[in-house]
Symmetry: C2
């Protein structure tokens, strides 16, 4: 992984992915006691940053390979990103999802152009199904985070942050990133390290699923004890990636951890003050910016909202915190 890969991904994304702005509100500055700038990747195509990595990976494929199609395992934002990026390339996509995934996610992924293959979690092995389909059709697997071209694609958001901050004359800030497997965090960290080394990128995770924070503190990859039970499902992964962890170790500051309740409150602030829709996992960085004020340094904090794919009932829970 290097900055040239991120720059090349940015060139491939230009005119296809959305360049998201930086948002702000004096009310959020007041809460945080410093300037808060928010990068709303919920406004990205498919409602999350995942489109960047999917487009980067699919656009980097040899055209003949791409024409055979791509495959991904996901029931969430990665699935939608891969489905739409493949469709926009005119390439078929297969998404393997558990048969008990929410109907809305199944329907959305199909609507973005994917063939959805479901499996029975109790009796079938998704890897076996994926391997069989890939062999039969010559499909290329698009991994969700531990893949260089995916990391490069997510890093393009970091280039935009650095560019916008430098244009505002800001050279030092903490940059808080919602973190699951670390694809977005490591990509943004690489981009910032090159473009604006005074920016410190820090992963933010939900309580109980703080594998990256603990791994960074320990200096080795640690796993989450559980994969279920919280509301920040979009950013829950078993452990940091083999590619992403060394990058985060070299470039990132200490992780931050927030509660589900704090994530819901941050969703409510994003609604009230920024007029954007955040999902729980997508709001953890803003939650940290607003509540972990003693753990942050400097006059400016940047918080990424990584996604906005939330159902109305969960959003109503967030509004009820107001």
């Amino acid at each position: 992984m290097n900055i040239e890969m991120i720059e090349a991904a940015a060139a491939r994304l230009a005119g296809h992915a959305r360049r998201t702005p930086l948002l702000s509100s004096p009310f959020l500055d007041e809460i945080a006691g410093r300037r808060v700038l928010v990068k709303p990747e919920c406004l990205q195509l498919t409602g999350s940053f995942k489109f960047r990595g999917a487009w980067s990976a699919i656009s980097a494929l040899d055209p003949a390979v791409r024409a055979r199609g791509v495959i991904a395992f996901s029931s969430g934002n990665h699935a939608q990103g891969v489905a739409l990026a493949a469709k926009m390339h005119g390439a078929p996509s297969v998404i393997i999802m558990p048969s008990d995934a929410p109907q809305l996610k199944l329907a959305n992924t199909r609507a973005f152009g994917a063939e959805v293959v479901t499996y029975d979690r109790a009796n079938e092995d998704r890897d076996e199904i994926g391997a069989r389909l890939s062999a039969e059709r010559g499909l290329t697997l698009i991994k969700p985070f531990d893949e260089p071209q995916v990391i490069a694609g997510q890093g393009t958001a970091g280039l935009e942050i650095a560019e916008d901050l430098l244009e505002m004359g800001i050279t030092e800030a903490e940059v808080l990133v919602c973190c699951g497997g670390g694809g977005l965090t490591s990509g943004v960290a690489l981009a910032c390290a090159d473009r604006a080394p005074g920016l410190r990128v820090r992963p933010v995770e939900p309580e109980g699923f703080d594998d990256v924070t603990r791994s960074l503190a320990a200096g080795e990859i640690l796993r989450n004890a559980s994969m279920s039970g919280g509301i920040c499902d979009a950013i829950v992964t078993p452990q940091p990636g083999n590619l992403t962890f060394p990058i985060m170790s070299e470039h990132c500051g200490p992780g931050l951890v927030v509660s589900d309740e704090e994530a819901l409150q941050a969703m409510a602030q994003a609604f009230l003050r920024l007029k954007v829709v955040a999902e729980p996992g997508g709001a953890v960085a803003l939650a940290a910016a607003l509540t972990r004020t003693d753990s942050l340094q400097g006059d400016t904090v940047v918080a990424m909202i990584s996604g906005g794919n939330v159902d109305p009932a969960m959003f109503a829970r967030a509004l009820a915190t107001l």
Copy 2:
């Protein structure tokens, strides 16, 4: 009014107002049967397009006049736009609001830096209070729409729409604009007429408050029968402006009218598919784009979301339509 005034306003707004993007979703295209592009002015500073006009008017004042301060009559988006634009210029602002205005609006307007002067609707005359304060302090009145520099400021959104469409190779489209007094609609129409005459700007209003639509059809200014009763309060005014009506007559296509229920449904689609927060009045143009498909021409429709200042209870009503 002319295009040079809008261009000059754009130069004054540069680096101060937010340049909002165009959003889209294949799901909205599917509903509308054509390409739908959304200009989310809810992401503008203070949560509505009103900041543009306020900044334009205040920045155009002679510095010595501006230093004495500005005054506005508003309990809504115009108040917040004037308050923040004045504060950013280091100028005092006075906002006259009824004493029974919602606490949240009073608090927000104060938080944006204004001195809020309340009056008793039953026993006091707001114009008399305003005139007295203006005379005492030398304040300049910033009118909400029937003022050339305000229209010029709103028109900067039209310059951005035209520029973005031309960059996408789109030269013909209907441009639907949420319409109250016509400041935004007339400004956008002037900008589009100059930059991309193949764009047809059309005002969209809520049922029962369709004074502009009826006035355009009649060729003369007609009034609304009532000023109360709907949920689209942000865009309800007694009648089209004396400056805005001739501009709309010359440059705009026929108006469109939607129901409150359709506005709520459009808010829900903006939540679900675009991840932005629209207020009822701010969603009427999107509602028309999604439902008045037989009344629209061409392959592309642009819908402005004019604002996102909605309370959680009303937003919950919108989500309940899903």
